[in-house]
Amino acid sequence: MDVGNVLVWAVWFVAAFACLGSGIAVVSFSNPFYSALALIGNLASLAVLYLLLSAEFVAAAQVLVYAGAVMVMFLFVVAYLGGRADAPWAGGASWQQVAALSAAGALLIEVFLAVGLEASDRLSEEPPVEAFFGGPHEIGRLFLTDHLLAFEITSIVLLVAAVGGVILGSHTRRFEPGVDR
């Protein structure tokens, strides 16, 4: 095994375990601020895994959008609420627990299948990864050809969310007589 391969394995090992560790940390911290920080760590270590898949653009976008912009909002709200945040969530309805467990089980089976197939050499040839794979040009082309519908639907969903935010935010409260504001 050459040095480059060892390095890839080492980075993968650290990133994968950081991912798992921070994921567990997100749900086990009782302070929501720490949970949000752990989630940032989780998203960042996912970005490292994307880098190993030679998806540089996705990795940078992941850090920029999720670990950066989205999580800032989380921290903003949590820091403002301070100690007044709700008590830790005690679990949802039973059907939610069943659904979560079966989804996790399905993922686990998939992982075992993939590892088993790889170990017994039954997976077909490795897909060729060209030099431009994961680059901005290629991703842009896919967005506007193969995945155009999903891309457009996502943008409409985001637009609806933005309009909803404006409507909720600009709602002027009526003066109610006898109530001190």
Binding site: F57, A60, V63, G68, V72, A79
Partner: protein
């Protein structure tokens, strides 16, 4: 041609030190220029013309007690300035400052690393750097710090959008996210400041806000918030926050030079790349200081409505018009 790994290592060490030294002297230059603009001398006691002032400041900061509020939350309080300083320094790795040379038979490139997404990388690092300010203010357990970091947060998030959108015009014209490609494209045709003049002005204004500089220095409005998110910091921890702010300003100026002013390229003597780069950088940084001496601070509501109702629409319009022109021409 590829360069040997130890050449890159030596270059990284040199660049980090050059950036740190420029930060130190930037504080002196800023105080001198501000002083002259306000009919004072500025610092002139430490060494001839005060050139040892940054060294004196550094020794003072290092020897000062690193005050630690009893209520502060240990780990985030200590780590926050480190995160900010690290991300600020790391961004310089992808900024090209020369055309590359062959010295003693070894290839030496004019950048430390060239990745196809270097522009995104700088923005990603910047968005992580914000956490240093927010977490530091939160972990200090002080109302001034918390309010300061909330303001920083709101301001940076608002102006980051406009900043990213102004860059879009340049990306569309260059057809690449790599800073070396963008410089090469300007070398072939025209500096982007000419076709992207609106973009340049919007970028600069958003950049001033993004680096918390006057007149957008609301996070540190001393009359209202003492010192913003670093109220409870002192000694070298405070120094790290200052370092992050000044280096962010340097990074942003370097980005402005690279994206709009042709980078290290000039009309002749291209092997002098770093010199041209530093001269252009100095010019942009001087404008930063000039703004601080000239404009009073905006009110918070003015800042927000300016960012969202004026700067953002202009940036969007600029991006759309550029896209149409790039496709049409």
């Amino acid at each position: 041609m590829n360069e040997v790994w130890w050449v890159s290592a030596i270059k990284s060490v040199i660049i980090v030190n050059v950036v740190l030294l420029s930060f130190a002297y930037l504080t002196l230059i800023e105080r001198k220029v501000l002083g002259r603009m306000q009919l004072r001398y500025g610092p002139n006691r430490a060494g001839p013309f005060g050139i040892l002032q940054p060294i004196a400041d550094l020794i003072k900061l290092i020897r000062k007690e690193s005050f630690f509020p009893a209520a502060a939350i240990d780990a985030p309080y200590i780590l926050a300035p480190v995160v900010s300083a690290f991300t600020a320094l790391a961004a310089f790795a992808v900024i090209p400052w020369g055309g590359g040379w062959e010295i003693l038979g070894y290839q030496v490139n004019g950048y430390i690393i060239d990745v196809p997404i270097s522009l995104l990388l700088i923005f990603a690092l910047g968005s992580i750097g914000i956490y240093g300010f927010i977490v530091g203010g939160w972990a200090s357990e002080s109302k001034y710090s918390l309010l300061g970091s909330m303001r920083t947060c709101a301001q940076l998030v608002s102006y980051e959008v406009a900043l990213a959108l102004t860059v879009l015009g340049v990306i569309l014209m260059a057809g690449s996210l790599s800073l070396t490609d963008i410089v090469a494209e300007q070398q072939r045709n025209l500096w982007f400041v000419v076709p992207q003049f609106v973009g340049f002005v919007t970028f600069f204004i958003a950049g001033v806000a993004e680096t918390n500089r006057a007149p957008f220095d609301l996070p540190e409005a001393e009359q209202e918030l003492v010192a913003g998110y670093h109220t409870e910091y002192s000694g070298m921890r405070w120094g790290l926050f200052q370092m992050a702010e000044y280096i962010n300003m340097l990074t942003l100026s370097a980005l402005a030079v690279t994206l709009f002013l042709g980078g290290w390229h000039f009309f002749w003597l291209d092997w002098l790349g770093p010199l041209w780069f530093i001269l252009k950088l100095a010019l942009v940084v001087f404008v930063f200081i000039w703004l601080r001496a000239t404009f009073p601070r905006l009110r918070y509501d003015q800042l927000m409505s300016f960012g969202w109702k004026f700067l953002l629409p202009v940036a969007i319009l600029n991006a759309v018009v550029t896209a149409i022109l790039v496709v049409a021409l």
